[in-house]
């Protein structure tokens, strides 16, 4: 197989933002997740938890609460605004000032007609949900002290509101408060501090569950307003509560990073009266659990430590299946790194700036396993701060390293980049075509003469680039009429093809010479996570969120034999069980049979000339092969050559000089940059 020189890069200081809020749309099985920087992410739980969509944040926008109303997504934050999102164009649709000061929580009734917002000024504001917008309806009886949390009774007639030191129950029709439930403060020093009811849940049997800053989870009788049961869960805060659809299981997230499960079961076998019993404690977070979702089969949690954790409940799923495995989503499911493979440059995308780095150089050659002496150190050439309030949503670097482009929700910027002998100049291309006002994805053609920008309704704008000008050439549109955004763009090496993939799982291939649609790949049920067109054979390789790999011949407009063989034989079970998607596919110009792809924990060279691994053969066989003498290796060789030397990969690229670039971002380093967690007494400390 051979040696590779690998540039092992660890200077990409990618730092994800803390998770603030989550909401699950049970109808579409999509999880909306809001981060502290205002960014919004949509995960498709039906499709291997793939991160389908990403709406970048904005300076000054903070999201405290998320709420799905059917397919519509609303958020509210401490800026006092309610925002609805345009999930097709990946941007806020409109924002509505609530005039009640910072909004702590929003919640819709089960019918989806009303949206209640809890405000700092002590009002619960009701908004009517109209077709295109929302409209303020009325205030519920104003209270002293802020409304921190809200929960509708499933009958839509009552609302429970968590406040400071108490819970109020409102009659949704009259707007009057019917009950006042006083929440006890913490003991000791915290006695003098108000207790914050961070979360309330109103169950159909009129039980109200509250989680508060004194570490208690309390069950109340909503009809009489009496306390039924107190569970002291933590010394710190209970920040989030979530209940299962059937109302029999409840989870509470704490500042210690634990998630505590309660179940509504009879405490003695065979008896009818059920009660809430604390059953399990999960500890998958190092910091505060700020957001919780209880799905049918799993507990989904997120918080300060930035990782989204899907913890299956083992009584709900079959054991030892892929479904029963714990999943941690730490990195975005798309690449934040662009690589100019001819120039040896790397572009790192941060929410508020871009960094351009030149890779180092080494002398001579070494044996496998060696570290070569670095002759020239890597160098940060440019740090480009974004303009405006919106965070960067995508960026691209041309293969020659001469162009740099980035886009926010409302603008696209293109820069001419000149590097000669330590002279760096970056000039903004001032006159961009009007049509290029926003882009979900950006991509340069391999000869750097064209810029492709994916736009609304899965269309792609083609812009021609030259020294003197930058002009609009064409807009490529699919025939399907899909309204979903394109999340993957790939221009072939020979400049003939452009492939796009959208979140409707459609893959369109355009002929760039004729500037028209060439073909559409048969739609597969799982979303593509990486696409690439082979430079010589013009075969399109697609990897999906369910880890399936397809090869589609653009010439014959059909799946290739290799792809059919792969489908027939099936992928190795261990391959399918991996829980991070392949985020990039590329080819080895030296050997046309090689496909290079990577996910977070490995990169793989797929050799199409070798036999596929059987289900019972060893998939990760590099160690075995190494230990075997040369002649015996052939017997054990198979197509998947997986290298796990590098972990937490943000990017793997092949440069023109056949050296690999791997960009690692060790999770430990991310952890080390997090603020200190709450102090806990550990044994022997």
């Amino acid at each position: 197989m051979g040696d590779f020189k690998v540039h092992r890069v660890r200077f990409f200081d990618y730092m994800p933002s803390a998770i603030r809020a989550m909401a699950l749309s049970s109808r579409s099985e999509r999880l909306a997740l809001a981060r502290a920087d205002g960014a919004l992410e949509i995960f498709n739980f039906a499709d291997n938890y793939f991160q389908e969509k990403l709406i970048p944040g904005q300076e000054g926008r903070s999201i405290e609460a998320l709420c799905w109303v059917g397919e519509r997504l609303f958020s509210a934050g401490l800026n006092g605004e309610i925002t609805e999102y345009d999930l097709e164009n990946l941007k806020p649709k409109y924002t509505m000032e609530a005039y009640g000061g910072p909004i702590w929580t929003i919640s819709s009734n089960s019918q989806g007609t009303l949206l209640a917002a809890g405000c700092e000024d002590g009002t619960v504001k009701m908004f009517e949900i109209l077709e295109e917008t929302i409209q303020f309806q009325r205030n519920l009886e104003r209270q002293r002290g802020r409304i921190i949390s809200l929960s509708w009774h499933p009958s839509d007639t009552l609302i429970a509101a968590g406040m400071m030191d108490m819970i109020r129950i409102f009659d949704a029709e009259t707007g009057h408060a019917t009950h006042r439930l006083l929440v006890e403060r913490g003991i000791g020093a915290s006695k003098s501090r108000e207790v914050v009811v961070w979360s309330v849940v109103f169950l159909s049997d009129h039980t109200i569950v509250s989680g508060d800053s004194a570490g208690k989870v309390q069950m109340w009788d909503g009809l009489t307003g009496t306390l039924i049961r107190t569970h002291l869960v933590t010394k710190w805060d209970v920040l989030a509560l979530a209940v299962s659809q059937d109302g029999n299981s409840l989870v509470a997230g704490t500042s210690e990073g634990t998630v505590v499960q309660f179940q509504f079961i009879s405490s003695t076998v065979g008896q009818q009266d059920k009660e809430w019993v604390r059953t399990r404690t999960f500890k998958n977070h190092s910091h505060d659990v700020r957001a919780l979702v209880h799905t049918e089969t799993a507990v989904v949690s997120g918080g300060m430590d930035t990782q989204l954790v899907v913890r299956p409940l083992l009584d709900k799923v079959e054991k030892n299946t892929q479904e029963s495995a714990l999943r941690k989503i730490a990195f975005p499911h798309r690449s934040l790194v662009s690589c100019a493979k001819k120039a040896g440059l790397l572009l790192f995308q941060f929410p508020d700036h871009l960094e351009l780095w030149r890779l180092g150089e080494s002398e001579g050659h070494g044996k496998p396993g060696d570290s070569l002496p670095v002759k020239r150190k890597p160098e940060k050439l440019i740090q480009l701060k974004r303009k405006g309030e919106d965070h960067i949503c995508c960026s691209a670097l041309s293969p020659c390293g001469g162009w740099l482009a980035y886009a926010t929700v409302c603008s696209v910027r293109l820069y001419r980049l000149q590097l000669d002998n330590n002279n760096i100049s970056l000039t903004k291309v001032s006159k961009l075509p009007k049509v290029l006002h926003s882009a979900h994805q950006l991509c340069f053609s391999s000869d750097s003469s064209k810029l492709f920008a994916s736009s609304s309704h899965s269309s792609v704008i083609v812009v021609g680039l030259s020294q003197s000008e930058c002009k609009y050439l064409h807009t490529l549109k699919p025939k399907s009429g899909s309204r979903q955004p394109v999340h993957l763009l790939h221009a072939s090496e020979d400049g003939k093809w452009l492939a796009t993939a959208n979140t409707d799982c459609e893959i369109h291939v355009y002929n760039l010479h004729k500037l028209k649609l060439h073909c559409t790949v048969p739609v597969y049920s799982s979303c593509p996570t990486a696409i690439a067109i082979h430079p010589t054979t013009s075969n399109l390789v697609v990897v999906h969120a369910d880890q399936q790999i397809f090869e589609f011949s653009l010439v014959q407009k059909e799946y290739t034999d290799w792809s059919r063989k792969l489908q027939k034989q099936g992928l190795h079970p261990l391959w399918v069980e991996r829980d991070t998607p392949v985020t990039h596919v590329t080819f080895n110009p030296k050997n046309p049979a090689h496909i290079i792809l990577h996910d977070m924990f490995m990169f793989c060279i797929l050799d199409q000339s070798l036999p596929l691994p059987e289900a019972k053969t060893l998939l990760y066989n590099q160690m075995t092969l190494r230990s075997l003498p040369e002649p015996e290796r052939i017997m054990h060789n198979h197509a998947f050559k997986i290298c796990k030397n590098f972990q937490h990969l943000m990017c793997v690229r092949l440069l023109e000089d056949h050296s690999l670039v791997v960009v690692e971002r060790p999770l430990l380093e991310i952890m080390s940059q997090l603020p200190a967690a709450v102090r806990q007494k550990k044994f022997a400390t």
Partner: protein
Amino acid sequence: MAALYEGYTLCRLVPAQNLSNSGIQGIEAERDSDHVVVTDSTRSVTLYKVSDQKPLGSWTVKQGQTLTCPAVYNSQTNEYVAVTDNKVIRIWKEEDILLDKAFKATVSSDVWKVHCVPGGEPVALFQRGAVRLFDSLLSAPQQPIEEVLAQEEAIRWSINIVAETQLFVIYTTEQKGDHFLYLQRLNPNILQRYRLEREEPGLSPLSFSASYRDKHIRLLYLYPNGHVYQSVVSVRGLGAEEGAQALPLPRSLLLGLPVGEGLLEAASALILDEAHVAVVGVPHPSAGSGKDFLCIWNTNFQTLQAGKEIAGKIYGQLWSYSSKLFIPHGKTLSVIPYECTKSSLASAMGKLRQARTEESKAPTSVPSWNNILHGEKAQPSRTVENRKTRTTRKTQSAPSLTTDQVLEFIKTAPVEEVQKEVEGLFSRADIQDLQPSVGQLASSLVSRSLADPAFYTPSTLAQLVHTQCLCHSVCPDLVLLALEKKDYFLCQLCLQFFPDIPEAVTCACLKAFISMPDIDAEKESLDPDSVSFMDTLISPEHGHLGMQNGFSPTSMEDNCSDALIGGGAVTKTRAEDKETSTAPEQICPVGKHKAVLLNEVLQAPYSDTYLLPHLKDLSSQNVILFLQYLQFLYLKYSQDAFPQMHGFRSPSLTQIMDWVCLLLDSHFTVLVMTPEAKGLLLNLHSFVKSQVKLFSELGKIESSLQELNKMKMKKDVGQYSIEVIELF
């Protein structure tokens, strides 16, 4: 070796404006090792809990009054005693808040200091040298106080010491450049006055320190030229002549500290134990000047053992209580814990016999590398001094005999006379001086005893052995004589103190010990330490309590041997054993005193090649008995860790195992043929197996720890590297 540990601040000081003094008058021990009373130089007394670095109480006298002596704590009555304005004695308890309301008594003469040893009664030392116990003083406070000191003679330093049951007040005075040492014994009051030899003109001692050991008071003083002298005064000699004439006080140069240029100004030397001295204010030999150090010196080897830089001005004050040094410097009072372990040349060279047990004994001076290497060279004046002192001693005690005379005397005189003379000789002279003659004395005593069966001086011989100046090669017949006379105590001492007993003699001792009837053995009075060790070992409450980490070795061994052998016959014998007595291995097969003697044999040094042939002489019954005893010891040891924990002199587990192996080696065929040894052999087999298992487990742990070490070696990947990988 000695070590100074990380210090900590006890309190801040308010030194005088010109930093001339530290602002502290004195520090005294309080109720336990963790409390001290600090008296400042003006008006207040503070009680500190040292480990907490926290004041527990503080008392202040009224404005205008001054504390003129450090407050002391009377642990008998739990009261504090201090003196204000030289004449007013104040006594108060911890719960008293206002000092002015506490007990007051005005005495008729100025008090220099009040001293109080823990558990003892306070003593007042008056500026004119008179000493009063508090009881008698307070019963009549205005009683006339006599003047002891001459005009222009002033007390410079004082201390009180309890020597056995006697209370001593020791103080030094200065009179026109001459320094005197007063030794005041109380009840009956006897005062002895000594004159300190003059150092270079104009130099007077900077600090004094005194300690008591082995019936001698040892005084240590430091001169500004860096010389540390030691004078030893025998407590017994006291009282011969009542303080008419100041006797010259012999001294020996203990240390010549490097002082750099000039003379020392504020420095202090403090006795820590018989071999270590803490010195402050003397420059560190390897550090530049301008830095102040606290050092611990070993006086035996004259080596610097530990040093610590002290920041800020040093006032030449130093106290030591319960392994902590208290030193005011700059504006703080620091507490520096220290540790001094007994050092010897052997330990320095890594050949320490019985490393653990030796600690409790003084470094043996038998081969006296010490004196050969250092004694002569480093103390050139010493021989001269000694001769001088000896001559003076001769003149002062005319009727007593010299060593040579005593040697002659031994050959003829009756037992009682000999004993008296030899003891007299010992009481007069320093043991160090007597060292060469101890051997002569011993051998002449032994040869007289051998020649004359009626002549035997057990106590004298024991005393000689106790000096640790003897060894087997000096008088080879001593041990055998003791055996012959059935003086087992002496045998024990010899085994303890002689480093060079031949294996034949060790074996003869063993044979004698093991074959003597238990009744005889119990009559012997033996070294109490080793007896009490056996007491704790045999005492029934240790029977089955011992569980280490919830693991009981006996049960494990039983299980494994049973399980492993699994044969009916063997298990049966063991089962029968158990039926007859609850646990035969748990009962000591020999009497207590016999066991003590056997322990001594176990701890004696030997070389197995030479020992084996002699072991073969033992009868098989003796071997079985001895093995049973070893088995008993082994079981006790593996049950709980206490024998190792206590400071008793006791055989180590390794020594026990070695002896088991030796005995088995020498008598294996006989033992195999002896039916009653069968169970014993099986048990021993299981011990060996458990030991082997233990070591193999330790080996596993070792190798896995090594693996961990290797794993840590994994190189740290920096921000960027270029690596070469190979895919297959």
